[in-house]
Symmetry: C2
Subunit: 330 residues, 2 copies
């Protein structure tokens, strides 16, 4: 690394259909981007990694072949400790098997350090490197998408846990008696309520249970969290109550998370976070009602400031920095 | 520190009535002990610290004046970051005020490093230095006494949080609707159920609510968790159900804690843990029922192996080691 030049890392976001590659500067600006297919390789992980490595090399060439400090990869079911993608059902070459992607990609790129983690942890690290958590050592990033993912940072360290699977806050239980069935097989998981699919489930349940309540949602063929948001800001009472309910459940859970790790902030990321104050207001109210005195009024609930279109690449890339998470890189 | 000699730290446990001092070797054996009064100083913290320092010096003299690596202090309402005891209601000289004990004691002892934390964190660090968590980097220590305290270790680091108050797991909420009032002012806190006072509350509630159920507890003037334990092992059905109920609540909460930090083990410490399998069995059953698939059968629930009479001194002393929590001491 030159003292005068910019510093660079590569960020790679592996999704079910496409994988996005970015060459990223230390200020979070992106020097170059490229997209390749993830699908179409059947069970042949080796060919995918070969194509990925050559795309990375071409992109670096286009960027003037800068010296790269490291490569960070975000992927579903990725384990930081093993560097493997483990049984990712939506990636054909990683379904029902374990692919040592970090090691394979590093070999193909001449030995550069490759670190791998799941999407929710990558979002947290990206937030710490370039976003709303810059300078923070204790925060929780909550990714509100079709599920609820989380990345937890304590004392400047991402919490991986004994096995690399820590931070499954979507699967704390909020109702042991009559909880909704979750995709994980358990009942009452937080993400069955506080996620975009959770909002849609609440809407469908309530429309059926409250036939007397008028709502424009009744005229839709397909109800998703965006439709509920739009109805809410148009003044639909039922839709407003749905966000109030969702935010209350989420805020109560946040109070428990604070009792665990006493974060400076909880940061909201992902599609459902676009609901803005409609969601944040009931979240903060419910959290404050359930916090211990020592924390009342002191825990920030913020929105991510990662640019949405590049968030996945940025998050992954932040894993590549040598000195961001010093304690993890020792 | 000599390469050939033993290594030493001083551990001090400050309680409401007495303060215990121990000179501790690196294997957890105790070279010498002393007890002084904590009360009787009114609001005069300075005199208490002077007496504490002179007791430490005398004790070290009796132990042959070994070179001491550091001093660790466990105290109620102690903050690791500030080194202060903050408004400890049961210590007259620290009630309604903040006492910079670490700094004061260090000055009185010629500048030796003094670290301070609360009792529950001290127990966790002691467990890691000398007990059941030796060699572990990810575990949670649960202290089951009159309340429920916790010390959380992630990646070899004790989790202090942004403000030093992390690990208040006794105050996660297990019942938002009809929860018991907790000493902290909130309703439904875990420690209102899973603690020695929680067990006694359950007993009193159930005896009143179930007048038809026979139980030897009905003939006692005073019901505490020990009496319920003794009735349970004598075969009393109601008392067995009370431990089943307490363990179920605690085990469900443990499943949520695992989702947070994926620990290798959860370690039970404190008076209520003496109930042994009577408590551990329902804890493990309820935890397993509520764990995600990836963790089923993999999370150990252990009992502390710290010798009970010296546990407080040992826990505090472990804070004194230079290289135990490398990341915190940098």
């Amino acid at each position: 690394m030159s003292d005068t030049g910019n510093r660079y890392v590569v960020g790679i976001d592996i999704g079910g259909q496409t994988s996005k590659i970015g060459v990223v500067r230390s200020d979070g600006s992106i020097a170059g981007r490229r997209v390749i297919r993830t699908d179409g390789y059947g069970t042949d992980a080796t060919s995918f990694v070969a194509d990925l490595a050559s795309a990375v090399k071409q992109l670096l060439g286009e960027c003037g072949d800068p010296l790269v400090e490291g490569v960070g990869v975000g992927a579903p079911n990725a384990n930081y400790f093993s560097g493997c993608i483990v049984n990712a059902s939506n990636i054909s070459w990683a379904s029902g098997t374990s692919v040592p992607l970090a090691q394979m990609l590093s070999s193909s790129l001449g030995g550069v350090r490759v670190s791998l983690t799941n999407d929710a942890n990558a979002a947290a690290i990206g937030e710490m490197a370039y976003g709303a958590a810059r300078g923070m050592k204790d925060f929780i990033e909550i990714t509100l998408g079709t599920g609820l993912g989380s990345g937890i940072v304590c004392g400047g360290q991402l919490v991986y846990g004994h096995d690399g699977h820590a931070g499954e806050l979507g699967h704390v239980c909020i109702d042991h008696e009559n909880g909704r069935l979750c995709g994980c097989g358990k009942r009452g998981c937080l993400e069955a309520y506080a996620s975009s699919t959770g909002v849609a489930r609440t809407a469908k349940e309530w429309l059926e249970a409250r036939p007397e309540d008028p709502s424009p949602l009744r005229f839709l063929d397909h109800i998703n969290s965006k439709a509920v948001y739009e109805a809410a800001i148009q003044g639909d009472q039922l839709s407003n109550e749905i966000y109030q309910y969702t935010g209350t459940i989420l805020g109560r859970a946040f109070a428990d998370f604070v009792a665990f790790s006493a974060p400076e902030a909880i940061i909201l990321f992902g599609g459902l976070a676009r609901a803005g104050e409609l969601l944040r207001k009931p979240v903060v109210e419910a959290m404050e009602q359930n916090l211990m005195e020592i924390w009342k009024g002191k825990i920030k609930v913020l929105f991510s400031t990662l640019p949405e279109s590049d968030a996945a690449i940025l998050g992954a890339s932040a894993l590549g920095w040598n000195n961001l998470l010093t304690n993890n890189d020792q």
